[in-house]
């Protein structure tokens, strides 16, 4: 591990609005945040992590995340993820990862048909990801949510498989949006792509509220700081 601060790309789509907070939070926690525009066709080779931030990319037209998934930058994000690089999708970023097929399921309008905005408690279920490796199963984190479409849906068969493989990473302690079995965050099979509806980037500063986002972002930063050996460096 060198003394260099890990570099983490924060992608901005037209309509993203949490990209600024994501960059601030990462910088505060010891990373260099690299702004990346959605039209970019590649990521800097020294980028060790990617954040797809919250917001309303492309105005949520068609379906949330549906248009962003075909943005030019997503080919680079796909390649980065396929190489094992850590990718964190927050809120709209989670929706984009689902639409892109990088994460299972899809996010539907909240059960109660209301936008929810609240600090909520999420419970850590799986610690086998870089984002939760510093946590214990059962740990509770208080993190804000703010979304209209966070109701995560998968079919019964896939849901059972995901539980079996430890891909359910976070659950809301209490139901907030009708999401299946209160799922708040899901990881891909390889364990390096996490999507979650809560906003860890809004929960890093005690003077502004809860700080439950810190361990998740620190996990991302730690993974982004690891040397690329073990990832398919040659293919990048």
């Amino acid at each position: 591990m060198s003394d260099r601060r890990p570099r983490i790309a924060v992608v901005t789509f037209p309509g993203s609005n949490d990209d600024g907070d994501a960059r601030l939070a990462l910088e505060r926690l010891g990373a260099d945040a690299v702004p990346v525009w959605h039209a970019a066709t590649e990521l800097d080779p020294d980028v060790g992590g990617v954040v797809l931030p919250g917001g309303f990319s492309y105005g949520d037209y068609l379906r949330c995340g549906a248009l962003a998934r075909s943005a030019p930058v997503m080919d680079a994000v796909r390649a980065f993820a396929a190489d094992g690089g850590p990718v964190l999708g927050i809120c709209n970023g989670f929706q984009i990862l689902c639409e892109a097929g990088l994460l299972p399921g899809v996010l539907r309008p909240n059960r109660q048909l209301e936008f929810v905005c609240a600090d909520v408690t999420v419970v850590v279920e799986s610690t086998g990801t870089p984002f939760t490796s510093g946590l214990a199963a059962g740990d509770e984190l208080v993190i804000p949510i703010k979304h209209g479409e966070g109701n995560w849906v998968v079919d019964d068969v896939l849901y059972a498989e995901l539980v079996e493989r430890g891909q359910i990473v976070l659950r809301y302690r209490d139901d907030v949006n009708g999401s299946r079995e209160r799922v708040a965050g899901v990881v891909n099979r390889a364990g390096n792509v996490l999507g979650l509806m809560p906003h860890p980037e809004h929960a890093v500063d005690p003077s502004l509220g809860p700080t439950g986002g810190v361990p998740l972002l620190e996990g991302l930063i730690a993974a982004a700081g690891e040397p690329l050996t073990g990832r398919a460096l040659a293919s990048r």
């Binding site: 639409e99 059960r111 109660q112 009708g178």
Partner: protein, 76 residues
């Protein structure tokens, strides 16, 4: 294209519409809210055009996990 939530998929919009209609005194036993997409395509071959539209639906316009789609074609 007519794009609809699949049967069995929770449709909060449809439920809200049904409840509002009931509120207005209309007897409705079910409501589902989907989406209509009109496309104009210059094509001589309707079969080929329909095939192309099927691909558009599968790749972008509908999410096959939660939505079904129906294609209706006709001259402009």
């Amino acid at each position: 294209m007519l794009i609809r939530p699949k049967v069995g998929i929770l449709d909060p919009q449809g439920e809200a519409v049904q409840a509002s209609l009931a509120h207005l005194g209309f007897a409705v036993t079910g409501a589902r809210v989907g989406r209509l997409v009109d496309l104009e395509i210059a094509a001589d071959d309707e079969v080929a055009a329909r095939h192309e539209v099927e691909r558009m639906c599968a790749e972008l316009l509908a999410n096959p996990l939660i939505e079904s789609f129906e294609i209706v074609t006709g001259p402009a």
